[in-house]
Amino acid sequence: MLFYSFFKTLVDQTVTIELKNDLAITGTLVSVDQFLNIKLDNIKVVDEARYPHMITVKNCFIRGSVVRYVQLPSQAVDTALLQDAARREAAQPSTAQQGNVRVK
């Protein structure tokens, strides 16, 4: 659940999602759920000419299972904090199911 919490902090940022079918979509992150399904607004497809079916699309829902990469704005990510959170989650497997929250 760590990356779910992480993606929630990135809402309203501009991200580029690269899919497993090589389609790359840039847009504003609207929401993310526990499967890392992603909703984007004001989308722009990289190499639009190859994907004519995307011209008329303004916002979209992307199924988490088809995402290959998410390109993030570097200033929006605190890598030190993320690394620390990942360590803590790995150290305490019992908290892994309850998100990035410590259970006392």
Partner: protein
């Protein structure tokens, strides 16, 4: 279970809720859309669904669940070749979630400003087959060349995910 008249039928945390067209269920629909009965589809929001096999379906989303299983109504399959497209009427579609790549809302304003041209279904099917055949021919030549130079060519570009 009381599914309620206004909301979606499934409890889910996915982001699909906004995309479901619930206007058909609205009790006040005739006051909101005076021409509703006469021409119901004009007011409904169309969605494009891209499937893992590359197909593009356009229809109205009527239901979904947590796996992104979808029910589409008045679906058409749209085939694109170059700057042409052709539509095949398909009716009601129930799509198993694992095959869904992407679900996009179509902006009717942008729809008017594309340089795409609609052609009859027969023509687009011919064009699609020609495109596929020329692609396979190119692939064959490429694989032969690679093979001659000692590369492994067991790779096939099919459904990779």
């Amino acid at each position: 279970m009381n599914s309620g008249a206004s909301g979606p039928f499934f409890t889910t945390s996915t982001g699909l809720v906004d995309s479901v067209d619930s206007r058909l269920f609205s009790r006040h629909r005739t006051s909101l859309h005076p021409h509703y009965i006469a021409n119901p589809l004009d007011f409904l929001e169309k969605l494009v669904v891209v499937l893992r096999d590359g197909r593009k379906l356009i229809g109205i989303l009527r239901s979904f669940d947590q796996f992104a299983n979808l029910v589409l109504q008045d679906t058409i399959e749209r085939i694109y070749v170059g700057n042409c497209y052709g539509d095949i009427p398909r009716g009601i579609f129930l799509i198993r979630g694992e095959n869904v790549v992407l679900l996009g809302e179509i902006d009717p304003e942008r729809e008017d400003f594309t340089n795409l041209q609609q052609v009859p279904v027969e023509d687009i099917l011919v064009a699609q087959r020609e495109e596929l055949e020329s692609k396979q021919k190119r692939e064959k030549i490429k694989n032969q060349t690679l093979h001659d130079r000692g590369f492994s060519v067991d790779y096939m570009e099919t459904d990779l995910y």
